[in-house]
Symmetry: C2
Subunit: 252 residues, 2 copies
DNA sequence: ATGTCTTTGTGAACGCGTGCACAAAGATGG
DNA sequence: CCATCTTTGTGCACGCGTTCACAAAGACAT
């Protein structure tokens, strides 16, 4: 049983701040688009606009990688694409397994964005015996029994979990035991992993709830200057006013 | 054409920090699980462990909502579920539209996690005429032509974009013009929206690239203590060493 | 009623991330 | 070769988020 910590200790990796690492893929995407249009160089201002960030932030981010720009000119697009790709480890080929080939897992398997950047779907794994052998996105689904063998034979170090929440921790434990050290989790659960294993989660429900919070705030802040606002306010299920304070009734 | 800024100005909403808001759904999930097991009260230590965060952080988070705990005892589970739900706006019913009913959009439509928390799929919208009327997850797909009408009639303020990247900005503009003020974007593009509109993005490709960065770091840090490591190292496409410095060749 | 024991709520310190503003670097033109 | 102009790279200040550590609050037993 994995008893590791869950929150990552913000390991200042190689002098490159975590926040910068998270933005590098954004820059890379913008640069790739420029590259396809054969744009030779780009200024920090232009690239920042394309990536949706502050230009000073972008320059500082790049300064962690080295001095790759030319003052008075900007950055060489091709060269920067290469440097960021190398920094992110995308010059390597990363075999990935997807576990749980349901609605979401199948969509992921069909997603073209994988192969475009050094990621290769090495195998699809599901616990349902009736799915074994059936091809999804051209790849035959394999049974969970062979999980360890699949990980080992393909040299997989990145796993994607798209099983129901109840199975996620168990699947995670098996992946980690088999040698996987990076996990992308789509199941709405907190995964416990040993030190040295990275977990990132994608949680649709959380994102929606955050949006709902801000949405409620927007609706509540302007008391009611106009009845026919940008969108009709959703009906309130509770009798609670939108800006009301504590109901002042403590159950216990 | 929407010419707004993209990065949110970190609007310190109602005194509640953004980082806290992002964790509230996590607490709520853990509390809901406790509630279903009829656990009456929970300490900050226990709940923090369940949510995978530091207990001091959790207490400080709750302190922004008010003093809902009892010293020496902990927090009343049911009461806290209600308070957080109310704070997040989940006591209301939020109609949501999904635009782009392909692989991903269909998976999202089939996802049960929507209805579980106040979110209701009000409509599915796609540009493909051959899909119009066809039911997905029990809901008939409607054509993009009727987008504005659908938003208006259902009082939708939250939209989910699952179209190809090329169509995302255009769809976004139409949603915003029709009154949507919160957008969850699955397409790999930076969306420009006017002030007052919130955008959150879910980007599989970025998450994988961040994992790859750390994976590369792990593999490179221990020089090579063992050839048969936890997982065989993926083959290097370039001739570049994993820890190599700049190639010292500047194209331009 | 009083003491003990548990757990909350928060003051304070610290570190990270962000953005301003500017000096230095280098291209470009005369 | 020199002047000018553009754009990078970064020192600095500030604010947010995290964590420690502890006093205060309240439950519970006697
Ligand atoms: N569908 C979505 O849009 C969506 C969105 C966000 C999150 N999620 C989450 O993603 C996960 C999958 O969602 P889904 O809609 O694809 O569900 P699903 O039920 O369609 O698919 C789940 C799949 O996992 C397989 N499975 C179950 N236990 C397994 C195990 N122990 N090992 C291997 N495979 C196993 C099942 O056979 C099934 O094929 C869920 O946790 C869900 O909450 C889904
Ligand atoms: N499939 C995945 O797992 C996955 C993962 C991450 C990101 N994404 C992104 O999500 C988006 C959708 O992915 P997908 O695999 O479902 O693609 P898809 O091609 O299967 O589906 C796209 C759907 O959008 C519709 N569409 C196109 N233009 C439209 C428009 N202007 N208005 C309304 N609908 C329109 C198409 O008719 C199609 O049904 C893409 O941007 C993709 O990059 C997908």
């Amino acid at each position: 049983m994995a008893t590791g910590r869950t929150h990552r200790p913000a390991t200042r990796s190689r002098g490159i701040p975590e926040a910068t690492v998270a933005r590098l893929p954004l820059y890379l995407r913008a640069l790739t688009a420029l590259s396809e249009r054969s744009v030779p160089t780009v200024s920090s201002e232009e690239l920042a606009a394309a990536a949706g960030v502050n230009s000073a932030k972008l320059r500082k981010d790049f300064s962690y990688l080295g001095s790759y720009g030319t003052r008075g000119v900007g950055y060489d697009v091709e060269y920067l694409v290469y440097q960021i790709s190398r920094e992110l480890g995308l010059t390597q080929d990363w075999p990935v397994v997807i576990v749980g080939i349901g609605n979401l897992g199948a969509a992921l398997a069909n997603y073209g964005g994988f192969a475009s950047r050094g990621f290769r779907v090495a195998a699809l794994i599901d616990a349902d015996p009736s799915m074994a052998g059936k091809p999804v996105a051209g790849i035959p689904v394999q049974h969970t029994d062979d999980l360890e063998k699949i990980i080992d034979e393909n040299g997989v170090s990145i796993g994607v979990i798209a099983t129901p929440a109840g199975a996620a921790q168990q699947v995670c434990d098996r992946l980690v035991a088999a040698g996987v050290t990076s996990i992308l989790n789509f199941a709405p659960t907190v995964l416990s992993v040993p030190d040295g294993v990275d977990v990132r989660k994608v949680d649709l429900s959380i994102e929606l709830q955050i949006l709902a919070f801000h949405e409620q705030r927007k609706a509540g802040e302007e008391a009611s200057p106009d009845g026919s606002g940008p969108a009709a306010a959703p009906k309130d299920t509770s009798g609670q006013g939108p800006d009301g304070d504590v109901p002042a009734v403590m159950p216990a």
